[in-house]
């Protein structure tokens, strides 16, 4: 049984809110089993020719996380010494994984165009540089970004769903999403309803993600957890599992508006969730730490963590992104330093 994802006709979404955790699998049955009449199962059509059916687990039984153990593992990643050619290769990889971001109330088309030029021309004096992976903007800026990036491989990501707080009705969130997709967004970065999650209303959050995923159509969906508001690593593991089963293509730490934003321990918990999901379903999910990563050194540490947790197959911008605005220039400074042997100044690197 194969089915083209684009051709799936989604039923009108009806909000369901159930208080008993663990019933998600049953309760979603009428809505999700469009293609499969197997109870307690959920059918993923994740590429045109592949389809896999699997059970939706009880998310309250997600693995527990020991925070100190996670921090020790992170500390060990950070002892890796990345030198010479592996450093240059890593730095270029980082550049190519960046979602260059502007998410401000004062954003204008002009500002977005300038940033888009930077996205394609990171530092033209240095040959063989990649472009960034994408630019990340608010929905009203998508069209301008799309135009500015014509003829480039740089994608346009748009935040949606009442970013950054997510405090709105589902109707508004879905409209927000559809608008961004219609404007040309290749990727949608949604926020979850953290309040509902912390209330234990996992079915609500699952529904929400699944509904937004449908609204995305062909656009890839990144689900932002705002980990800084979720408090514990156990929560982060649980929401990671939930989001992946609900249809996330990427899971993402933060909006950048809350501190702490991305941290390595949080990202490691999410990477381990992705790994376990891969072994359960065969499906690869992407990871995007966002906010707070501003130095080349820190970027390399994330890459080490990625490489040693998920392996080399995830080492591309198809599966890993950095949500960052100032990271690119620090990486560029390091690349120039590697080439010239001279420590650099910010004055020599364009700030857009």
């Amino acid at each position: 049984m194969t089915q083209d994802r684009k051709k799936i006709v989604f039923h009108h979404y009806e909000s369901t809110s159930f208080s008993e955790p663990g019933n998600a699998n049953k309760l979603f049955f009428p809505f999700y089993c469009l293609n499969s009449l197997v109870r307690n199962s959920f059918t993923f059509a994740y590429s045109t020719n592949q389809m896999t059916t699997f059970k939706i687990p009880d998310f309250t039984k997600s693995p527990t996380i020991d925070q100190v153990g996670i921090e020790e593992r992170v500390a060990r990643f950070n002892t890796r010494s990345i030198k010479k050619e592996s450093k240059v290769k890593g730095l270029k990889l980082i550049l190519n994984m960046i979602d260059l971001t502007t998410l401000e109330g004062k954003d204008t088309e002009g500002k977005v165009k300038q940033m888009c030029y930077k996205a394609m021309h990171l530092h033209d004096i240095l040959p063989d540089l990649p472009t960034v992976a994408a630019v990340c903007v608010y929905p009203p800026m998508v069209r301008a970004a799309k135009q500015a990036l014509l003829n480039s491989k740089v994608k346009v990501a748009s935040v949606a769903t009442a970013f950054p707080s997510g405090q709105s009705t589902r109707q508004v969130k879905l409209l927000d999403t559809r608008y961004a997709v219609e404007e040309g967004a290749d990727e949608i970065d949604m926020v979850i309803s953290r309040g509902e999650y912390l209330k234990g209303n996992y079915n609500f959050v699952f529904d929400e993600i699944a509904a937004v995923k449908q609204a995305c159509g062909p656009a890839r969906l990144k689900v932002i957890f705002e980990t800084g508001e979720l408090s514990t690593l156990d929560n982060i593991r649980r929401i990671s599992d939930l989001a992946m089963y609900a249809g996330a293509d990427f899971i993402k730490t933060s909006t950048g508006k809350i501190s702490p934003a991305a941290t390595m321990p949080v990202t490691l918990v999410m990477l381990e969730a992705i790994r376990d999901f891969y072994f359960t379903t065969g499906k690869m999910i992407g990871m995007k730490p966002a906010g707070g990563i501003s130095t080349a050194k820190s970027g390399l540490q994330y890459l080490v963590m990625l490489r040693e947790t998920l392996g080399n197959d995830w080492l591309s911008n198809e599966w890993f992104r950095f949500g960052a605005s100032s990271l690119a220039n620090d990486v560029l400074m390091q690349l120039v330093k590697e080439k010239t042997g001279v420590y650099q100044s910010k004055d020599y690197f364009s700030a857009d």
């Binding site: 925070q67 100190v68 921090e71 980990t227 514990t232 690593l233 941290t263």
Partner: protein
């Protein structure tokens, strides 16, 4: 017509039972006027082996009792001993004590049991520590019973030597097999009767009578004995014991009888292991990058 006295049969004490030695051997114990006092069991290595099995069986239960409960039981031993004071005084006297010395020895023994009864739920606090490690872990060390202890108690003293060798060992949750004084064995058997009526579970204390010269090497070499306490002065036996003890890295503690009769929590500590436990401490604080 005078009534014929009933003589007591002195047996050994293993696993809460009073068997005779499996070997069938005995040695006669005579009084001041060479009169026969008793035919005392000459325990064999097999008796010792059986006693160790009983002690090992009793260990899990005894060591996991609360300190409070062990304290009550030790206090109960003191009560029972106090109640049979006259019998012990008489026994000590026929073994050569003066009335005054006998009375003192029994009183001291009772008091020592009361002293250790009080320690049962306190030495842990004294010898434990919370260790301020430099990493994000909670770390603490506590004393824990060593296991099965074999004891060769004082030769000179019939009751106090025995009580002072047993009390700190069982206070700490160990079980034991004790060899009583060869020349003054009578009180040990009567003390076993006290133990038997004091809620001390069978096997916690096992008492053998016999010769250290025959038995000490088995006390030292048995692979299921964790520690040996030796309260005599025989240098040759001590050396021999220490040599045999290495077979299973047995802990050996030697004391003169007078060292132990005064009682000390450090004697409890001797037959304890120190166990250290680590566990991570999550540190998620408000308002900062907690993870």
């Amino acid at each position: 017509m005078t009534r014929l006295d009933i003589l007591k049969t002195y047996k050994i004490y293993i696993g809460g039972q009073f068997p005779r030695t499996e070997s069938g051997r005995y040695y006669p114990l005579t009084g001041r006027n060479k009169e026969l006092l008793a035919n005392v069991c000459l325990s064999s290595r097999k008796d010792f082996r059986n006693a160790i099995v009983a002690a090992r069986t009793a260990f899990a239960g005894w060591s996991s009792r609360s300190g409070f409960n062990r304290g009550q039981i030790l206090y109960r031993i003191a009560e029972m001993l106090e109640g049979r004071k006259e019998q012990f005084i008489a026994e000590l006297m026929i073994q050569g004590s003066t009335p005054k010395a006998a009375s003192e020895e029994v009183s001291c023994s009772v008091d020592l049991l009361v002293y250790y009864a009080g320690w049962c739920d306190k030495y842990q606090a004294l010898f434990s520590s919370v260790n301020p490690v430099a990493s994000s872990h909670f770390n603490f060390s506590v004393p824990e019973a060593m296991g099965v202890v074999s004891i060769i108690s004082s030769e000179e003293s019939s009751l106090l030597g025995l009580v002072s060798s047993i009390a700190p060992v069982i206070t700490g949750g160990n079980t034991c097999v004790v060899l009583a004084s060869e020349s003054k064995p009578l009180c040990s058997v009567t003390f076993a009767e006290v133990l038997n009526s004091s809620d001390v579970p069978g096997g916690v204390v096992n008492i053998l009578t016999g010769k250290s010269s025959e038995l000490h090497q088995h006390f030292a070499s048995h692979m299921d004995v964790n520690a040996l306490n030796y309260h005599r002065e025989d240098k040759k036996e001590i050396t021999n014991i220490r040599e045999q003890a290495c077979l299973n890295v047995k802990r050996v503690f030697t004391h003169s009888a007078s060292d132990v009769t005064s009682g000390s929590p450090y004697l409890i500590l001797e037959n304890q292991e120190i166990k250290t436990t680590w566990h991570p401490v999550e540190q998620i604080g408000p308002g900062k990058a907690g993870y």
